[in-house]
């Protein structure tokens, strides 16, 4: 039961602390390419791994790319001719859209542990900048570069939500959940 000073935990304060730490986030080495060919031409690159890393990124593309219920919404974010149909359908049989891959980020050694390759995208809001599937910037430079460490984490799977409302009925019936 140690004494403590007043503990009015401020939401605003917590948020600003997070913002601060994001600014100070460490940067790590990575390689960014628009294509396998560009990767192979890079004199500083590692041509043996260009193909396998591309395949690794491409394999994740459909699962991790941002998804849209209409082509218009996708085009608004990524530009005309920059969207494709995703290999998924909504529960009512509707199409799902996602941006085309604009490039990929190569795995490099990170603390002795190989960082996985992942697809990159380019949105209309920041042209020329590569962004990960989780909308983290990977910079605008191709070849060897440095990116924020958070950009190198494994991208999340973004599939389409088929249905909502499968929870909540008991709450509507009984009221408070508290005991």
């Amino acid at each position: 039961m140690k004494r403590r000073s007043s503990i009015s935990v401020g939401l605003m304060m917590s948020v600003s602390l997070i913002a601060l730490s994001a600014c100070e986030e460490p940067r790590v080495d990575a390689s960014v390419y628009e294509s396998v060919e560009q990767c192979k031409r890079d004199p500083l690159g590692n041509p043996d791994q260009c193909e396998s890393n591309f395949k690794e990124a491409k394999a994740q593309h459909a699962a991790v790319a941002p998804k849209y219920a209409t082509k218009e919404d996708c085009v608004a974010d990524f530009g005309a001719e920059k969207c494709e149909k995703a290999p998924y359908q909504t529960s009512t049989g509707g199409s799902v859209f996602m941006p085309l891959m604009a490039g990929y980020m190569m795995g490099s050694l990170l603390g002795g542990r190989r960082m996985g390759a992942q697809p990159l995208y380019s949105s209309t809001s920041s042209p020329g900048t590569f962004r990960t599937a989780d909308n983290k910037s990977a910079g605008s430079k191709t070849g060897r570069t440095q990116v924020a460490r958070s950009a190198t984490s494994k991208p999340s799977v973004k599939s389409t939500t088929m249905r909502r409302g499968g929870f909540g009925s008991s709450g509507r019936r009984f009221g408070s959940a508290a005991t």
Binding site: K2, S6, I7, V9, R173, S176
Partner: protein
């Protein structure tokens, strides 16, 4: 244990508005009464409440450990078979628990008796951890209560310290029923605690949760939910439409699935079955157990639904007469029969002592008073101090 009348702080209206609590000029802060406080001595706290609560917690873990492999017990608790392996796996893989509140009948004389364990969706967390502590600090400063007192209240620090050990390394989702302000407030407080240790969070209503084509639960941005800190009981989750998807959803829940065994009042007969005669337990039986008839035959007992909330559908029988009976929506459900240990009376009020456990350590007290023997959502929170 004493009940001591005291002046309220002069700026109660401001205190209420700072903390987002409901206030009216006539009744003060809804659910809160600081015109009195309870005073405990150190021995009562350490020997009668803290130590027994942690011992009971250990006993509860033994109950879980046994229950997960006992189909008969899982059946009796009303847990659908679909979730048996899921619950067992969550226990075997040591999924961490965050918090819970044990409700005890305690008068300062004789051992505290466990009435029930709100192990899944406990309420009055914010009032305990923040508002009660602020009262203690201000009341001390204003000279309303004696100098040199203390309060059993490490709830806030303990929650903040527990979060890094829950193994959340990506976005943490928080969900509850949006229509209930109290539930929302409690969960928002937990969210602030998570943010205090740098976790990224996202808050949504249970009914907003989606199900995607990979069988994952999703938020409103279609992101897959990895960790869900829910203020929504396990029995509701298991019964609802998306519930059947939960075991394969890849979501880590807090509280973990094995808490479904402890938050059920069937825990009380299970504890009595394993630890009969323990000083902090009351005799308790499933209603269909022949031994329950014996307890009923004594003429004094309490009948409770296994899954009721906030004092609903509780019946107290004293000397063969129904002494108290509350309404509620749970009357059709299975019941337990528990020995009757009335709450003590202090000036016409019946205090129920809630002992908060965070990461299984007893770290806080909350006392709620009612004018009846059954504490409910309309009971008043009364603060406490420790003074020797």
């Amino acid at each position: 244990m004493l009940r001591i009348p005291v002046n309220e702080r002069p700026d109660l209206r401001r205190a209420a508005s700072e903390h987002g609590l409901e206030y009216s000029a006539n009744d003060g802060i809804t659910g809160w009464d600081e015109s009195a406080y309870y005073q405990f001595c150190m021995r009562e706290i350490d020997e009668d409440l803290k130590a027994p609560a942690e011992e009971l917690e250990g006993m509860c873990m033994e109950v879980v450990d046994r229950a997960i492999t006992d189909e008969q017990v899982l059946q009796r608790l009303g847990i659908p078979e679909h979730f048996w392996d899921y619950i067992a796996n969550s226990w075997r893989s040591s999924e961490r628990n965050l918090y819970g509140r044990m409700d005890l009948s305690y008068s300062g004389k004789g051992p505290a008796k466990l009435l029930e364990y709100n192990a899944d969706t406990p309420t009055a967390l914010y009032e305990t951890a923040v508002f009660q502590w602020e009262w203690f600090e201000q009341a001390t400063e204003l000279g309303l209560i004696p100098e040199g007192g203390d309060q059993l209240n490490d709830v806030h620090e303990s929650i903040v310290q527990a979060f890094p050990f829950l193994g959340i390394n990506e976005l943490a989702h928080f969900a509850c029923n949006y229509d209930i302000e109290d539930d929302k407030g409690t969960l928002q407080y937990l969210e602030e605690c998570a943010q205090e240790v740098g976790l990224e969070t996202c808050f949504l209503a249970m009914e907003e949760i989606g199900l995607n084509d990979h069988g994952q639960l999703t938020d409103l941005e279609d992101r897959a939910i990895r960790t869900l800190i829910k203020l929504y009981p396990w029995e509701w989750i298991m019964a609802e439409e998306f519930g059947s998807q939960v075991p394969t959803s890849g979501v880590r829940f807090i509280e973990p699935p094995w808490k479904a065994i402890l938050s059920n009042k069937g825990l009380m007969p299970l504890l009595w079955g394993m630890f009969e005669g323990h000083p902090n337990l009351l005799p308790a039986y499933f209603e269909d157990d022949p031994a329950a008839a014996e307890l009923v035959g004594t003429g004094s007992y309490v009948r409770k639904p296994m899954l009721s909330r906030q004092g609903a559908n509780i019946e107290i029988v004293k000397n063969g007469q129904t002494h108290y009976k509350s309404d509620g929506p749970y009357s059709e459900d299975a019941h337990i029969i528990q020995g009757f240990q009335p709450l003590p009376e202090f000036e016409g009020c019946y205090p129920l002592v809630g002992c908060w456990l965070v990461a299984s350590k007893a770290v806080g007290l909350c006392i709620r008073e009612d004018k009846t023997l059954v504490t409910s959502k309309d009971s008043q929170f009364v603060p406490h101090i420790i003074l020797d």
